[in-house]
Subunit: 382 residues, 3 copies
């Protein structure tokens, strides 16, 4: 189908002519009102919701983001079985650096000075009466080592016996140091400075959580709170937990996961200085009976007297996961047209509905004929 | 262009009138069939695919998610050059806590008790015949230290000489402990409990990978498998690797990366209890000759006799990266209308196609005139 | 509203008939040109921008991705207060393994051999004149321990006195080792091999940053650069920093965050071998006076003479965060139709605009009547 001179003529004629459909106007209050209502609704929806409220006239971009955190706080404990201890960030932040997250150890079982060797297993894990209860080379569920085949007195409870194992000795005594309370309740008073830098590459806008209008002194002393200090990027751990209605002691004892979301919803048609973060917190894990909380084991390895040794720590704690969401938008013609187009497409719905109503209305009536005659013209040319 | 009384009258008239295009009906089997087929296709596509299958009638939301993992398993090795050793999670999970990922060390080269000082370099890296082969202060590709300028006998192979270096001594002997087999084959039997909590904030729905109807006992003993136990959140490492057709020994020897995807495709028009996770695994790295597998070096630092010392470990292993995808959907009027609108917009395509077909059909024929006369009315008013 | 025989007949008639709107053609240069221009613009926008440029004819998929990094490089320092030291990856990469990120320590304050006990606090943090200046059991902002209530001579500066604290002793002297320069300037010469594997599951395509046509030897020696070697996956740290116009010394001294984005924009209608990564770097944090740079504290724990001890390190450094973006696209009928439909919907905009123009044009003129008469047919049937 190649272009002929005729086609060019027709195209040229397009410049001088305007083709518009011929309309039949039907006087019918019901159908008229339906049509008017649907069209008005679509118009309002497109103009106010899709275009204005949802900012459909803007091209949007998701920010490139980087989060770094800086924790501060020191705690002194004096538990009888452990002695006095000082806990600073190098002690309770494990691992020391994470991407968009940090873990605060609040409760623990420490088993210092473990060495490879033979010792008695936890009597709850591998109780025994005689050597034949301990099959050499086997491990049981939750055991700390491999059985040697001997049944020996437990070092933990002199009235009991348990299987001897080859393991990191002595084996861990998996019982919390304090009943119902965390070892490090002072973590509640620690603070975290969340530095979040975002870039909208297409729009060339950079923003960060540290407000420009904060003096260095105010930045050091301010503490985030939902109302007056909602842009202060320094958070007291206890404040975060209270603001979401959780109980610190319970959370710190069993462990948990909290999400801190930083939302940047930026209308870049205005000055970028109005593009400000919104912090929202939420507990993500569930208080449940089955496998609750959060804990993991890690060890510090060293060598003593030429022998490998380690300090095993089972750590419970609060994990903070920082997510960055939101988008920046700036006026652009393409999305505006796309939304207007979508609105116009919806307009066709009014006709579809009205045509159906009319067909029902005029069904088996004398006016059906009249309507059809006016609306439709039959051409039996070919 | 301000509103006049006339405009208001016209708008008011909209309530009593319905404007509908006047149609010309053309009897033409071919065009009629084309028109009917296209319209039916679009109708079916919109109704069944866009609306029903893709759930276009629903407003959707991506979940906020948190993943924590709990590894279990113990392994005993007795390699002649190392002696008996016990490996628990604190040994083979490096680092102990990661966000949405965990690394299981399966193979390694351990260089214990390194101290800062002078020693012979690996003969493969810095072979020499005489002192002048070792230029003081230089490093070569892959070297472990800085040359002192002396050529000394190798401590590793008495028949060879190599450059002396200032380094952490003795330098690492980068040769796998066992040929073609991993040092820790037992990692295959380790298990991981994946606790994934998701929240759909807008819909107020919370879900997790631990099934509500599992008793604590069943949760402890069940092991995920593709068919009968597809909702059990505890995975045996070997099962994961087998289910994707990989060979554990090979993967453990060279290292690799496996993605575990948790998909939550939730139709929240139903009871949230039907919102269940789908676990899919996939090996992400490639078996290749160039730079295959996954390994990295880390060290345990300590002090012996007042001197800094370290145990250097080159670790190969399997890295599991957990991703959470999916979305929740609930009926909402706005997306429904948007999809219907898009469908109606497509309907216009039928007319476009048919008009083109008609123009070709009637081309240079006598009926063209007749068609145009019926369809188009010329108004030469202005 | 159930189907009658009539409805079936009407549906059947659809196969033989084609309904097309009757048009009124208005000769009006202005409106004709407006109509033609709008329609042409929409046609060009749909065809060239939405369909061709934005590849609107393709179904797209976001890749599943895994990133592993391999760092190489060794550095020798000889700072008078520390003595000669060798730094390899196990020293300056902290933590040794991260997901999609790595941190290179470039500057530090090392406090070796800290033990729990009593010692003098930093005189800047807790200066004192007499014991009463040090309230026992209290901590001050930035302090390292809990005051014992005594005021003692500072071990750091014999002419000063400071509060005695229970802390990890000796307390850290938070002053950079070298003024204005990083301790490890040689990190500039380190290299990182970025192995990024992506999978498009739906399209069954796998790609990676290691080019297939690179020999192993070339892979080992090539270094990425913006122009000739833009596909080489090995980056010299200094090259990355220079390519974004940053100053290594400054960045290394204070610390910073750099984003390396790997973009895979793949047209999978062509051979997948043309699907190649684009590396772009960007500094994400801001040079600012308030809380600049990036640093964190971590410690190596060990036991000496049966007592817990640690080496505390305050580390400044450059954090590299690797992100993977992009999408793969392949021709598919559904998105093509969706885009054509959107284009057709926009076409309706031409009529809307022209109708408005016509109403203004014919406003209060004699031709208005004539136009209305031709265009609109009143049916007062009911």
């Amino acid at each position: 189908m190649c272009l002929t001179l005729d086609d060019v003529k027709i195209a040229a004629r397009g410049l001088f002519e305007y083709e518009t459909p011929k309309y039949v106007v039907i006087k019918n209050n019901v159908v008229g009102t339906i049509n008017f209502t649907i069209q008005l609704t679509i118009l309002l929806y497109t103009a106010f919701y899709a275009l204005w409220w949802e900012r459909g006239y803007q091209e949007t971009e998701v920010p490139v983001s980087a989060v770094t955190t800086k924790l501060k706080g020191i705690e002194y404990t004096n538990i009888s079985s452990v002695g006095p201890r000082i806990w600073d960030v190098a002690e309770y932040v494990v691992p020391p650096l994470e991407k968009d997250a940090f873990f605060l150890m609040t409760n623990m079982v420490v088993t210092p000075n473990q060495k490879l060797g033979k010792c008695d297993e936890d009597p709850e894990v591998a109780p025994c009466k005689r050597d034949s209860d301990c099959s050499a080379g086997q491990t049981t569920f939750g055991s700390n080592g491999v059985m040697t085949g001997r049944c020996i007195p437990s070092s933990r409870n002199s009235s009991m016996t348990s299987c001897e194992v080859f393991a990191w000795c002595p084996v861990e005594n998996d019982v919390p140091l304090l009943k119902g309370r965390p070892v490090l309740p002072g973590v509640e008073n620690c603070t975290v400075l969340i530095k979040n830098y975002i870039v909208f590459p297409k729009f060339g806008v950079r923003r960060r959580t540290i407000p420009e209008d904060y003096a260095e002194k105010h930045l050091k002393t301010c503490r985030w709170n939902k109302d007056e200090e909602k842009y202060c990027p320094t958070f007291r751990i206890g404040d975060i937990i209270n603001s979401i209605g959780e109980n610190f002691t319970e959370l710190a004892y069993k462990g948990g996961v909290i999400n801190i979301n930083i939302q940047w919803d930026c209308n870049l048609d205005y000055d970028p200085k109005y593009c400000l973060p919104l912090f929202t917190m939420r507990r993500v894990d569930e208080k449940t009976d089955i496998a609750p909380g959060l804990n993991f084991r890690h060890a510090y390895h060293y060598v003593e007297h030429g022998q490998p040794a380690r300090t095993l720590i089972k750590a419970w704690g609060i994990r903070f996961v920082i997510t960055v969401s939101g988008k920046g938008g700036k006026f652009s013609i393409a999305p505006t047209l796309r939304n207007i187009g979508a609105g116009l497409a919806l307009m066709a719905m009014a006709s579809v509905v009205c045509d159906i109503v009319l067909r029902i209305w005029y069904r088996s009536s004398f006016e059906k004929e009249k309507y059809n005659e006016a609306k439709i013209m039959r051409l039996e040319c070919c």
